[in-house]
């Protein structure tokens, strides 16, 4: 518990450090009048057309959803991975291997389906 509290205080320290620097540099730096052209979004000389809610390709959201699916599957492998050696030593290795084999098979089928359905093609 104590190390968790220490961690929280450390995060607060980091945030305070960052805010101190941001506020400090704004206080130290020169503050000239910012013209309208200077405050425009950086563009190669033309007036930018973007809004605050610019649209993005839906591909990115798809990638994020697929990531969540696969990441959770991978996280399920972690507890299995660290106990696997103990099970092998106690003679239950084949049982654990078979159990995980089914799970990995589902993972592989999912990945193949994902590639087949062209969810990962960028063009």
């Amino acid at each position: 518990m104590s190390s968790l509290l220490a961690l929280l205080i450390f995060v607060a320290f980091l945030a305070a450090f960052g805010i101190f620097i941001i506020v400090g540099t704004s206080a130290l730096g020169p503050k000239p009048e910012v013209s309208k052209a200077k405050a425009m979004p950086y563009e190669s000389g033309v007036v930018g057309t973007e809004q605050k809610d610019s649209r993005m390709s839906v591909k990115f959201y798809l990638t994020a959803i697929l990531f969540i699916l696969f990441d959770i599957e991978i996280i399920f492998m972690y507890p299995w991975a660290i106990t696997f050696m103990d099970f092998v030593k106690s003679g239950q290795g084949m049982y654990m291997l078979g159990g995980m084999g089914v799970f990995v098979l589902l993972f592989v089928v999912g990945l193949i389906w994902e590639v087949k359905s062209k969810a990962l093609d960028w063009n």
Partner: protein
């Protein structure tokens, strides 16, 4: 002072020390990167300020402090200003979770008429016993700072760079996470300290086809057990820290400067601290998992041996402290060599195209990481010491 309060203070002091070391290493790394880039491109790089140009980045940092604060007209103020602060946090937190040296053991002693000790100081900011899971969780938070920067700037290049960066980071995180499953099976623990202890002080030994093989001139390091996993992990960390050849988020030919287009001054430097922090965490993780952590390649030289043979004549407390310093230096050398590889690769490989990048992550590295997992599991199940 209660025991809890003492421990909390100690942990905070250690974490702040680790953070300061990280921040101090950034100018050295930037300097090294620019000098090496100059060397590889047959030019000088920074060489004017201070010996070998070493003071260049300090001068730059002071200059950054006095830069004009800028805020883009259409930007979202809270996100724009919070993003560089957010960039500092994951790298520093993750680095604090990694043991950087052997534990310093202090026997009871008297000072100013009071009794102190015994203490055990781990060279590690905090330890929850979940080690790598914690670090993986924290370092994924890095994507948030990029997204906040891109969204907050309200610039299409920033936004595109940020969205690309987060898509790339999460895609390679799959390969990163899966490549570790093999080595976790071999160690059987999440704790970094346990992993290092298993690599400490013994020669490489394993069972092959029912026979015990001992290679006495190699240390018992993870890379010899799981070279494929090590390769995939190291490659994936390049994408995680947005380094060439995976630096699509800031591909200057297409995106001006990516997510930090609208930033300048110290805020920009904070993104750099975050990026180099990620590289340090990646190098430290590779070191702990595959290169024996702070252990020496000459495996007979363990912390206990060093304390006995090198500093045997001293008071045990000082001997323990000096041993800690020696092994911290070993860790530093290993991390520095890996960081050198980061810089080296930057000028060796060209940048990927975005679709090739995603294909490499999902269709090449993920299946290979899966293959590595299955291979390691089969090997452990059928033939293990």
């Amino acid at each position: 002072m209660g025991k809890d309060a003492f421990e909390i203070t100690l942990n905070i002091v250690k974490m702040i020390l680790i953070f300061l070391v990280m921040v101090q290493l950034v100018p050295v790394l930037v300097w090294a990167e620019r000098r090496v880039s100059g060397f590889m491109q047959n030019r000088f790089g920074p060489n004017r300020i201070g010996p070998l140009g070493l003071m260049q980045l300090l001068a730059d940092a002071v200059k950054f402090l006095f830069k004009e604060p800028f805020f883009p007209a259409k930007g979202v103020a809270a996100m724009y200003h919070a993003a560089p602060v957010m960039a500092l946090i994951p790298g520093a937190l993750a680095l604090a979770a990694i043991p950087l040296s052997s534990a310093v053991i202090v026997e009871p002693f008297q000072w100013l008429g009071r009794e102190f000790g015994p203490y055990t100081f781990l060279a590690q900011g905090y330890d929850f016993g979940v080690g790598i899971v914690m670090v993986l969780g924290i370092s994924s938070l890095g994507a948030y700072s990029l997204l906040m920067a891109g969204w907050g700037s309200s610039n299409k290049y920033s936004l595109l760079g940020a969205v690309r960066a987060s898509a790339q980071m999460i895609s390679y995180e799959l390969a990163l996470g899966l490549s570790l499953v093999g080595i976790l099976m071999i160690y059987g623990t999440f704790s970094f300290q346990e992993m290092i202890n298993q690599q400490l002080g013994q020669a490489l030994h394993f069972n092959a086809l029912g026979k015990e093989v001992v290679i006495s001139w190699l240390p018992n390091w993870g890379i010899f057990y799981n070279p494929l996993g090590a390769l995939i992990f190291f490659c994936a960390t390049f994408a995680e820290s947005n380094r060439l050849p995976f630096d699509l988020p800031e591909a200057e030919g297409e995106l001006v400067a990516g997510f930090h287009t609208e930033y300048g001054g110290f805020a920009l430097l904070m993104f750099y601290i975050g990026e180099y922090g990620h590289m340090m965490v990646a190098s430290a993780l590779v070191t702990v998992f595959y290169l024996g952590g702070y252990t020496m390649p000459f495996y007979e030289i363990t912390p206990a041996y060093v304390q006995q043979a090198w500093f045997g004549g001293m008071h045990p407390n000082w001997a323990s402290l000096l041993t800690g310093v020696v092994f911290a230096l070993v860790m530093l050398v290993k991390v520095m060599l890996l960081l050198w590889v980061f810089i080296w690769v930057r000028w060796t490989l060209p940048r990927f195209r975005y679709d090739h990048l995603m294909d490499l992550g999902w269709k090449t590295m993920l299946p290979w990481a899966l293959f590595n997992t299955i291979l390691t599991a089969a090997w452990i199940a059928f033939s293990w010491r």
